[in-house]
């Protein structure tokens, strides 16, 4: 079975992003290809910013997501509308809005909600973390 994860909880106000990571680790231990993709929506998109610097004695959530994405080839999508309004800007969007900087972290990509619909359509189960 392949899963799509929909994460909507803020990385700062909830444990949604943390719990989803643990779910993925448990899942791929038994079924390495079980995760089709992860779609971050709402405040969860904040996890894809390259700017925050967590205290050294706490989990670096961004790094944890980047590691798991690279290691297991899991695509990480941020809803473009939710991300841009929260200041998570890719190089391309930065040019479009004529900004001097961009903030999207590596291994994350901005996509529309249509990508989530496609994921819903092509996986057996979608699990929301909020």
């Amino acid at each position: 079975m392949q899963y799509t994860l929909l994460i909507t909880g803020s990385p700062y106000q909830s444990k949604a992003c943390h719990t989803a990571l643990r779910f993925i680790r448990a899942c791929i231990e038994k079924h390495p290809n079980a995760i089709k993709g992860v779609f971050f929506y709402g405040d969860a998109v904040l996890v894809g910013s390259q700017i925050p610097q967590p205290p050294r004695d706490e989990i670096n959530l961004l790094q944890a997501w980047q590691d798991i994405a690279q290691e297991h080839n899991i695509p990480l999508y941020l809803c473009i509308a939710a991300a841009v309004r929260r200041g998570i800007i890719s190089e391309e969007e930065s040019r479009r809005y004529e900004l001097k900087q961009h903030s999207l972290a590596e291994n994350f990509q901005l996509e529309g909600l249509g990508t989530l619909v496609e994921l819903i359509h092509t996986t057996q189960k979608v699990i929301q973390f909020r």
Partner: protein
């Protein structure tokens, strides 16, 4: 084709959850995916007529309700009796009794909460 229920439970003016839940419903419907809505808790405030939110409050999401039928979103459920006064709220909802409300959530392939 998966049938989706979007459960709105957040105040339309407290944060963006309610708006982003509605946005997802509209996109699913645009892609011709069957989607129903149900409202409970603070999200019931969305149904109140005569809302005049300022820019600081956020967008007037109540105005979206009349357009839902054009996206073929025709089932908007609330639990009856609701805390919203019948005469002052949007008339397009389908009230469900306690048992129907609880049965609702197992009728869908997926339920997303906002």
């Amino acid at each position: 084709m998966k049938h989706t229920l979007i459960h709105l439970n957040s105040s339309p003016y407290a944060n963006l959850s309610c708006k982003e839940g509605l946005d997802l419903a509209l996109v699913l419907a645009t892609f011709e995916q069957p989607v129903d809505l149900c409202l409970s808790g603070s999200a019931l405030a969305l149904l109140n007529n005569n809302q005049l939110p300022t820019a600081e409050h956020g967008k007037n999401l109540h105005k979206l309700l009349d357009g839902l039928e054009f996206y073929d979103i025709e089932n908007i459920y609330i639990k009856s009796p609701s805390s919203v006064g019948e005469s002052q709220h949007w008339q397009g909802t389908k009230p469900l009794n306690e048992a129907e409300w609880h049965a609702l959530f197992s009728q869908y392939q997926q339920v997303f909460r906002f």
